[in-house]
């Protein structure tokens, strides 16, 4: 299960994973079935379009970036990089005894945070995971998701974002349920 989050992390990191690959498509279909989501049509999706659409949504669009995938942008009114959300993410990584490898992106990139969720699951750090989701990731993901939707993304990206959101939500319910039952 933790592997699912490394997988989602790959989908949000450039160059994005190609959903036309059979094993990737299999995973999407399976998760979608679980969540009662309909799978998207992959019409018009080729390697170039995938990169272009990813660029349009998450990197650069005319005059600005549509849905910057960084916590910092959504967790303060100024919407800047490297502000409160970024420090929060770093603090969580530190608490888990982890350090971010230099990847040219700020620490609060969605891909890093999803990979972090994977690590916490793998290492069974449920308490920290619950806190991370509640206090941090789930506080900014919905706003990121809304901005993404407003840009009318290709059905694949719409699906990816929705699926990720629901998976995270389900995970949170699971972890906080266990928290409650333990405590």
């Amino acid at each position: 299960m933790f592997r699912l989050f490394y997988f989602l992390s790959e989908c949000f990191f450039f160059p994005p994973a190609d959903p036309r690959r059979s094993e990737i498509w299999e995973i999407f279909c399976s998760v979608a079935k679980n969540l009662n989501l309909s799978v998207p049509t992959l019409n018009g999706l080729d390697e170039e379009f995938l990169k272009t659409e990813y660029t349009r949504l998450f990197i650069s669009a005319p005059f600005g970036t549509i849905a910057p995938p960084y916590a910092s942008v959504y967790l303060s009114s100024e919407g800047l990089l490297f502000q409160r959300g970024h420090d929060e993410a770093l603090s969580f990584y530190e608490q888990a005894g982890l350090r971010l490898e230099e990847r040219g992106e700020p620490a609060d990139h969605l891909a890093f945070e999803l990979a972090f969720v994977g690590h916490l699951l793998e290492e069974r750090k449920e308490r920290l995971l619950e806190a991370f989701l509640r206090k941090h990731l789930l506080r900014w993901y919905p706003a990121f998701h809304r901005r993404l939707l407003a840009a009318e993304p290709h059905p694949y990206f719409e699906f990816l974002a929705r699926l990720t959101g629901e998976v995270l939500q389900k995970l949170f319910e699971e972890v906080s349920y266990e928290e409650k039952t333990i405590s």
Binding site: I24, V31, P62, A115, F116
Partner: protein, 763 residues
Amino acid sequence: MKRRQFLKLSAASCAALAAMEFKTKGFLRPSSSYAGTKEQLPGSLGSKEITSVCEMCFWRCPIVVKVKNGKVVKIEGNPRSPSNGSRVCARGNSGIQLLYDPDRVKYPLKRVGARGEGKWTRISWNEALDEVAHNIKKVKAKYGSHALAFFDHGASAEYFREIFKALGTENYSNEPAFFQCVGPVAVAYLSTLGYIVSGTRQYVDMSNTKAILLVGSHLGENLHVSHVREFVEGLARGAKLIVVDPRFSTAAGKADLWLPIRPGTDTALLLAWINYVIQNNLYDKDFVKKNCRGFKELKEAVKEYDLKWASRICDLDQKDIKTAIEILAASRPQVVIYPGRHSAWYGKGDVQRHRCLAILAALFGAIGVRGGIYFPTPIPIGEAECLIGVEEAEESDTPLKEKFPFADPFPGSPTDEIIKATLTGKPYPIKLWGVCGVNLLQTIPNPYQTMEAIKKLDFIFSVEILPTETAIWSDIILPDATYLERYDHVYKNDELHPFITLRQPAIKPLGEARSPYWIAQQLAKRLGLSLFTCENEVAYLNSQLKEIGLSVEKLVQKGGLVTFPAKSYRDPKKGLQLPTDSGKVELYCENFADEDLDPVPKFEPTPAPPRGYARLIYGRVPVHTFSRTMNNLWLHNEWPENQVWINDEVAARLGIKNGDTVILVNQDGFKSNPIKAKVTPGIRPDVLYVAHGFGSRSPRLTKAYQKGVSDQFLITHYVEDPFMGASSHRTNFVKIIKDGKILDIPELRPLPPEIPRFEIRKG
């Protein structure tokens, strides 16, 4: 503890997941150290301090960048700096917003779809650089070097300019700073005093003067820190201030006398003053006799211009005109006849207007003295050899500068000529544009024409920090590092308190943005040019600083700034030796006469607004740098939109109240976005004013989307200055649309018969 499976995945997908090698698993690794929270000093105290140089505008104030926990938290002035000390302006303070702007271009981008669609895909640096180099070589091979053109401004652009120069094109530069701004004043002073008194800097000693004359210059709304400080200091010490401006500017608010002049008639006023000064013996006879050439011709040429005539032409009170000149004359030689800076106003008479200002200063003997015009101090650091490809630029058989006899001192070719050649292929085709530091569509008059020209190009690339309008039209976009993330040249300040300083990075560039030196170096390699051979910036900076016994390290150790003794004033015992042909002040310009241009300024009126229209004029605001800072949330919040200044009497007659929303439509039928009216007595009735740079689109600030009006998109008609090809910016006229109705502007100030009206092109 039992774990429930919250998702039941198919066996196949589980197997797939298990089999995959995730690079994302390697994002986070175990770390031994745990920093924990440290006790922090409040605010910006306790930060690491890195000296550098600001580039939020082009004045380049020395700064100190404060870094705390790896983040830039504050920017202040460098206390060692004689020009600004620990002070920075609103823009300087807001550099952090640029640095961490999520809209920054962080990766090389390639166009997908048509030019103007704004669809891109991220590519690698190698791909991007290969593509740019390939296209440059292709266009050069097919059409020749001159088919390559480069539009440049700012620190980053300087490196690429050398590449284009080395490629052999005469269009290696098109500085809007010259062709849209200081060109005319630079020509005027170069011809009169032999050096550029006003260009990048303005060498006038305002803090030690007894009187200041500003014609149009709105110091305090244009904000160059040290300059404004000198202005304020001079006033605080008792200097008198005369402001000639159709609008009651911030400077006018501090003036002893405000002359709300009819636009386009400043030269008439100046000529009448020159005549008055000569006729009433208010000039420095000794100075003129010893140091000026052409006084007799000047005296003869201006003899008909009297104050009464000027009063009528300029629509000013004759008493005020007299009072003004008497104040200025009484202060000589400590009088600053401010040369002006942005001088591309009307096209035809611009150079002559500034010639008048130079002549007036000369008549007062205010050259090379305290409180007057002074000389820049030469600073003895070497050139960075590896930055220079070729000394001289190539010229084509039909140079685009050809019809402008005085364009030579300015690098490259006039904007308008490049655009025309791109559009028409005459006199030769231009097929490739490089752009750096210029938002073409917000800078050059008639942006609609610019868009048409871009469509004709084989290739266009830009180096950007933020994705501007220009980026939307580019084929390849290269991500530039901000000034906080890199080195640049040694900066020389040759004003009254000379110094050198340098820019150094406070943090690593974001994403894959790279310093322009690196980008230019990579490009040069691919183009086979032997440029930028120094391994990195520190290497060439060291080679420059060696000449004065310094290095980057030593300079930084000294607080990032080193001062030099000034040589600003002339030795009173020696004669004045100017770098003109005669060594003297050229009141009469022979080389103008050689080109059939007036050797002594004459008054030639620029056409007045057609009936029912007002002239559209614009200016700066101290919180923004043109349109560049519109995406900066702090600055945008401070000044989110411009307003149109409308004279209160005109507004009353048209039924417009303060804060009403109106639309402007110009003589060519182009309409603006909605804009709020500022009804005030502080502007002439025949003029409408908007601050420049607004109305540019910025979805991040969605509340501000298309807020205010872009004056640029209303500047569709322009006249070329015959001296060096600058394009006029104040030759457009507007009417007001309110509630869907087009309103004629009532003419409250009668037009004298000598001034013709602008004729609107039919069709």
